[in-house]
């Protein structure tokens, strides 16, 4: 029993190390800009690999979710500008890779 526990403990420790390392080495980023009345987003890893099927969530100043969607196979997702105020656009890639972009009202 104790041996199993030790093994399990080591294994989980190892997995934790792996995921932390991955999260650092594969930090996800999102970039957004407005053209006309459409918000365009691009989600990517540092080496230029795109985030496919990543969950995008858009929040207003009061943290109310306004839009939700998934990135396509080019890491892109666009949506009609819901409000002319600061928007927080969150990308949630697999394995807990998460980041956000603050799209300022002044850039709309």
């Amino acid at each position: 029993m104790r041996k199993h526990l030790v093994t399990l403990c080591l294994l989980s420790h190892f997995l934790l190390l792996c995921t932390t390392d991955l999260a650092l080495a594969h930090k996800v980023s999102i970039f957004a800009y407005v053209e006309g009345t459409t918000v365009f987003t691009e989600s990517y890893f540092p080496d230029g690999k795109v985030v496919e099927s990543g969950l995008i969530e858009v929040f207003d100043k009061n943290n109310t979710k306004l839009v939700e969607g998934k990135t396509d196979n080019k890491g892109l997702f666009h949506f009609p500008l819901p409000k002319k105020e600061d928007l927080t656009i969150v990308i949630n890639a697999s394995m807990g890779h998460k980041n956000s972009f603050l799209l300022k009202a002044s850039e709309m």
Binding site: S29, F31, E42, P46, L102
Partner: protein, 266 residues
């Protein structure tokens, strides 16, 4: 009369001697080398011809080329340059440098490059042309820093040229017409006027001003940078073309120059 001549000869000698202790560097110094989401996206950029450790300026006429290389494409920024003046605390006149502002719009690596107008250096009886580059990274996309711009001579970074800690080794490859240059000298200097430099670095004797390393058979060199701030790397070669000075053909020193920034681990 003879004494005056001797005196002036001695002064010229001294001047000549001191100028060999100072290496010339073309420089492109941006206000930041990494643009994060919360940073200002507007870069202030200075283009100048200097002795970096001594902070001495030389006059720079308007460059021949200045632009950005990003995503395999060049964008001309020459018309955006405005003339400015600068000098070190111990220089008694102002010298011409060039400034511009650049608004970062998209993620990725922005390599700024300049090809200056040939500079006549009487002390070396030669013209100097330093093809100079610096890379600014924006918004987490690290793509393009290792691509050649296609200049006559240039340094290709083999170390990612931003996000460098103090004491990191910077490795680069020197290209001349696209081919590696073996056994060439690379001069390295610290920019004493780096923002945040807590105290002016003084060289205890001449060899400390400019560090020198040589490239290996593949044109590769390395150097560990012992202080936070901007570091200039200048790989020098003789051009296979000449320029005329007062009707006489003179040699041209062409330099491949690259600037990187280091930060202390805190």
């Amino acid at each position: 009369m003879k004494h005056i001549f001797t005196g002036s000869a001695i002064i010229s000698c001294l001047l000549g001697w001191s100028s060999t202790g100072q290496a010339h560097f073309g420089a492109i110094i941006p206000s930041d080398d990494i643009i994060s989401q919360e940073d200002s996206k507007k870069l202030q950029i200075e283009i100048k011809f200097i002795h970096p450790l001594e902070m001495h300026y030389m006059d720079m006429t308007k460059p021949k080329q200045f632009g950005i290389f990003k995503g395999g494409k060049k964008t001309d920024l020459l018309p955006t340059l405005t003339e400015a003046k600068g000098k070190s605390p111990d220089q008694d006149k102002n010298f011409t440098l060039w400034k511009t502002e650049y608004q970062i719009k998209r993620p990725g690596d922005y390599t700024f490059y300049v090809e200056p107008t040939p500079y006549w250096e009487p002390a070396e009886d030669s013209f100097i042309v330093h093809y100079t580059k610096v890379c600014v990274n924006a918004l987490g996309l690290e793509e393009g820093w290792d691509e050649p711009v296609g200049l006559e001579t240039e340094i290709i970074p083999l170390s990612r040229p931003y996000g460098l800690w103090t004491n990191n080794i910077f490795t680069g490859q020197v290209l001349f017409k696209g081919k590696p240059v073996a056994g060439t000298e690379v001069e390295i200097e610290y920019l004493n006027e780096s923002p945040g430099n807590p105290a002016i670095v003084k060289a205890p004797s001449d060899p400390y001003f400019t560090q020198v390393v040589k490239t290996d058979a593949n044109g590769v060199f390395s150097y560990a940078m012992p202080r936070a701030g901007w570091w200039g790397f200048a790989a020098l070669n003789e051009a296979d073309w000449k320029l005329k000075k007062d009707g006489v053909e003179k040699g041209v020193e062409i330099g491949a120059v690259y600037w990187v920034h280091t930060a202390d681990m805190k």
